[in-house]
């Protein structure tokens, strides 16, 4: 169960390959990657602030919760902070399980909780200025299904 919080870019394909190669006994691997959108050319990038110390602890807690709820062989979370350009990967999760339902549910659960319970804050750097991304009610509501 690897958790990485880093400013450096990561290679999504290499991470998925490495994760998939070592999940003995799993029949299903799900990955999710979040990308910086360019919003039709109106976004020049994104800056992500986080709470060093709490961030990894919060993510580990979320991963442990997922492990307790579903039958998982392995899980991976990588989340960047700092400045990112459009098209760059912001973060990824991967889950491996004997069966697909568990792998999908755990990946969605991780995403829903990382979105609203891990201490990251996104600022969009636009052509016309910069603005903190507001949390969406839909993201808070998404937690209620678990």
């Amino acid at each position: 169960m690897r958790v990485a919080v880093q400013s450096q870019p990561f290679d999504v394909g290499a991470e998925v390959s490495g994760f998939t190669a070592k999940v003995r006994g799993a029949g299903a691997v799900v990955s999710f990657t979040g990308l910086v959108r360019d919003e039709g050319g109106n976004l020049s990038g994104m800056e992500i602030e986080h709470y060093p110390g709490m961030t990894e602890k919060a993510i580990r807690g979320i991963v442990e919760e997922a492990v307790s709820r579903w039958s998982l062989v392995d899980a991976l979370v990588i989340h960047r902070h700092g400045k990112l350009a459009p098209g760059e990967a912001i973060m990824m999760v991967a889950t491996a399980a004997p069966h697909r339902a568990d792998a999908f549910a755990a990946a969605e659960f991780l995403m829903d909780y990382l979105k609203s319970r891990a201490p990251f804050w996104k600022k969009e750097l636009g052509v016309g200025g910069e603005a903190w991304v507001a949390a969406k009610d839909a993201d808070e509501d998404a937690l209620k299904r678990w």
Binding site: E49, M54, K115
Partner: protein
């Protein structure tokens, strides 16, 4: 400030806490962290104390429903007690993922 400062505060019935600010809370207050000595017993009391200080704190804490708080790096609530807490952080709802 160090140990002497903390011991003196403790003897005076007060505690020393690291207060951290993130995202627009940090921007409004104008600094990422500060160490304060307080006799507040709950988060809400500490917030009231900070708001009374200066306009920039008043601006940052005007709407508590748009704020979250963590005590020693665990999400908490504004009515939580401060006893034993070393680090408190204020920030907007998180937007990771």
């Amino acid at each position: 400030m160090g140990v002497f400062f903390e011991v003196a505060a403790f003897l005076a019935g007060r505690q020393v806490i690291d207060v951290l600010y993130f995202a627009w809370v940090r921007e409004r207050i104008g600094l990422p962290r500060e160490r304060i000595e307080t006799s507040a017993t709950t988060v809400a009391e500490l917030v009231a104390e900070l708001r009374a200080r200066e306009e920039r704190y008043e601006a940052a804490f005007a709407d508590l429903s748009s704020l979250r708080v963590a005590l020693d790096q665990e999400l908490s609530s504004f009515d939580a007690p401060l006893a034993g807490v070393r680090e408190i952080a204020f920030f907007p709802p998180m937007t990771g993922g």
